[in-house]
């Protein structure tokens, strides 16, 4: 206890200093960047991507509670696209067409936290992007040929997978640990029974690439703590993964105080290969339809590593030999050794257990504690091509560059302000690129034109190529950049039009095949969109009208037969709260009940050609 006293008091002083410091910033002057004009010019050149040329990297930034993913180009920091994932988006008709509506499962929003690329041999392969929803406990996968979401699953027993997604070296699994402990099956249980009945379930999710489907392989009923961040092992540690946890106090109220009491929390260290084997050997219980490992009953594969109180980030070095934890409430980074941990496990150097999970002795696995002077609130670490570490300091608003081998502080750069995560170019692969780091700042106080009391968040691009780190670009963002991934642009191979799918019974690729079929009270429309008209039934007197009776169930299958790059059509029914999109070559379906009688114009929402304004029709509902 004694040795934590100076640290705690240091932290308190730091907090105070940071607050005072903050208040001292004069408005409209974010740091010293503005002062030096010639330096600004050089920085502008460093991020300038002339028209006609393209950025070197894609940045996939989680959109937090917008439920969306924001795509940027780096180094220009130009916003390229917003991809809706967990929230409906009328710009793309997402959440209105049949497939995306089904995927949304009745939810109207999500809290997209940690995006993660699919990997091959520990390197991004540019094929898929995974994301999790803390708001409604879901996982999603986006195809990077089309930048569209292919599957979303509800993850039962898991509540708020904040600590995910992180994928293993060959995308065998992505793990979703829980932030808010709940009873299994989310059944009612009084908070007095928290320690007995509540659990922080972790789910092992698999991805079937052929069918583009997510699935839950098994779950682990971890103790009722809050799981915060995680990373998969690499190379020597590839079968392992680490995650931080707080509230090992198992407090049930006023967590700000009550979950910050213990000197030490834990890193959960687990071997997913071993857990996989345990499931194969039948060492699990069947609960709520899931294969659930209970650590107190099914022994093996899981260990606890003591770590300074309330840790946030835990990151595996590119060589896979170490993992670095950053103590949100302890002003230090701790470097742990996988090899030491493996040895300690072999020699059973345990200091007892918690909830049936052995605790590895701190001294047996800790390599060094690193505490850069006055750097406060270390959160998350990224790496460059030399293996150097870059840690965001939430409270002292800076990025600190340091050497994990020696613990020596190499450089520091202020950012504006309060960086949570940061992302380096391919920074969590086995082979980071160096070059760039982006600080994902939680506030941007006075940095941009005012938009009222709530300011935009910000991202700042830091050049890692020189001797000194340098902030060379700053971009406001929609709420909230939580975490991001940066991938070399040439790794992503998008398609320009959807290929014809002759087997799709809903698709019609020629005007002659268009038709409207009635089956009882169901009306099935097989129509096409092309520049600049809709044809729902080519033989009808008015091929661009759909007439139904009130109460009919309407199925509109629409194929965009413009197999021409970027000729996207929209389909909206005025006054019917419907809007879908068909990209070139795509067939899309909207299903609804015609519950309002009347006359409702149909129009193309996505500007497609000179006669876009004429691309209309009528939806008539007989009373």
């Amino acid at each position: 206890m004694k040795k934590w006293l100076p640290i705690a008091s240091g932290l308190a002083t730091g907090l105070l200093a940071a607050t005072v410091f903050f208040a001292d910033f004069s408005p409209g002057n974010p740091g010293q960047a503005v002062a030096d004009n010639s330096k600004n010019k050089t920085n502008a050149e460093k991020v300038y991507v002339p028209f006609g040329e393209k950025d070197e990297y894609y940045l996939f930034a989680s959109g937090g509670h917008s439920g969306q993913m924001f795509i940027y180009g780096v180094p220009s920091m130009r916003h390229i696209r917003t991809v809706p994932v967990f929230s409906p988006d009328s710009a793309t008709g997402y959440g209105f067409d049949k497939h995306s509506k089904e995927m949304m499962g009745g939810f109207t929003w999500g809290d997209l936290h940690h995006p993660a690329f699919s990997e091959t041999d520990g390197d991004y392969d540019g094929k898929y992007m995974f994301a999790t929803d803390v708001g409604n406990s879901r996982a999603a996968v986006m195809n990077l040929e089309t930048f569209t979401v292919k599957d979303i699953i509800d993850v039962p027993n898991t509540s708020g997978p904040h600590c995910a997604a992180f994928v293993t070296e060959n995308t065998e699994y992505m793990f979703l640990p829980t932030r808010f402990a709940v009873p299994i099956g989310r059944e009612y249980a009084p908070l007095d029974d928290y320690s007995e009945k509540y659990r922080g379930v972790m789910s092992a999710v698999t991805f079937d690439e052929k069918n583009e489907k997510l699935n839950i392989a098994y779950q682990v009923a971890l103790p009722p703590w809050s799981y915060d961040l995680s990373d998969a092992g690499k190379k020597v540690s590839k079968d392992w993964a680490v995650m931080t946890t707080y509230n090992t106090e198992e407090a049930t109220t006023n967590l700000e105080i009550n979950a910050s009491q213990a000197d030490r929390d834990f890193i959960v260290l687990f071997n997913w290969k071993e857990l996989e084997q345990m499931v194969k050997d039948g060492q699990y219980d069947e609960v709520t339809g899931q294969k659930m490992i209970f650590p107190e009953k099914h022994k093996g594969g899981m260990y606890l590593v003591p770590v300074a109180k309330s840790p946030h980030g835990v990151d595996v070095t590119p060589d896979g030999k170490h993992f670095i934890a950053s103590g949100k409430l302890a002003p230090a980074m701790t470097v742990f050794s996988f090899e030491k941990a493996f040895k300690a496990i072999e020699n059973k150097e345990f200091a007892g257990e918690r909830n049936g999970i052995p605790i590895i002795k701190y001294e047996s696995v800790m390599e060094k504690e690193v505490n850069p002077e006055n750097a406060l609130g270390p959160l998350h670490t990224q790496f460059d091509d030399q293996g150097m570490a870059y840690t965001t300091m939430f409270i002292s608003s800076e990025i600190v560059k340091w050497d994990p081998k020696t613990g020596e502080t190499l450089d520091r750069v202020p950012v504006q302000y309060s960086p949570g995560h940061s992302v380096a170019a391919e920074g969590d692969t086995v082979a980071p690129d160096g070059k760039y780091l982006i600080a994902l700042n939680k506030i941007a106080k006075d940095s941009y034109l005012s938009v009222g009391p709530s300011h935009p968040e910000s991202m700042q691009l830091i050049d890692l190529r020189g001797d000194k780190m340098e902030v060379i670009q700053s971009a406001p963002v929609n709420p909230e950049p939580h975490y991001a991934q940066m991938i070399k642009a040439d790794k992503i191979k998008t398609i320009t039009v959807y290929p014809k799918d002759e087997k799709d019974p809903d698709a019609v690729y020629s005007q002659e095949e268009t038709r409207i079929e009635r089956k009882g009270n169901e009306v099935h429309v097989y129509g096409i969109a092309m520049r600049s008209k809709f044809i729902f039934d080519a033989k009808a007197e008015r091929p661009d009208q759909i007439e139904v009776k009130k109460g009919d169930k309407v199925f509109i299958h629409l194929t965009n037969i413009d197999f021409d790059q970027d000729i996207t059509h929209g389909f909206a029914i005025n006054g019917y709260d419907l809007n879908i999109e068909v990209q070139p070559g795509q067939t899309n379906t909207v299903e609804f009940t015609a519950d309002k009688a009347g006359t409702f114009p149909i129009y193309c929402t996505n500007f497609c050609s000179a006669l876009h304004q004429e691309m209309t029709g009528y939806f008539l509902v007989k009373p």
Partner: protein, 186 residues
Amino acid sequence: MAGKKLSILSSGLIAAAAALIAASLFFPWWGMEFFAPQYPEGLNIIVYPDKLEGEIDIVNGLNHYIGMKGFSEENFPEFTYLKYLIGGLALLTMITAILRRKTVLYFLIGLFSIGGLLGIWDLRRWLHDFGTDLSPTAPIKVDPFVPPIIGENTLANFITNSYLGTGSFLVLAAFILILIPLWKDR
């Protein structure tokens, strides 16, 4: 009439011509490329003896604005028999090479010339037909036009470039090959 036989060399040249004509079946004969600000990469119509290639659907989609009929293989009856005519010509040329008779060669050259002229006339007829028979209800009115068989033409925001394809050059080369014996064996 049973004049001198053509020399072995001439016969060989004619045989080579036959091979070139046969080969031309597998190459495009004629093409048209369209450029517009929105299509800097260009759109193509590529004509083989028996089929169309290129961004035909896209070109048709754009052409409907000016009321032009759609290009499709069904619209050109030539596609059903042209390859047999060319194949037949290759066969006749081969027979000429084997027979090594001057009269047959004269006949072949005559046939070749007539066929070639008919081909050019046919292409020009189609270009005229498509460019002048525009739908009166088209959303955008343009003056009737006839693109050249070879060369540039400007239409609305499009610059078109018509050109001969590899197949045409092969046949042209074959024609020259069968002309050489006329001079060699004179």
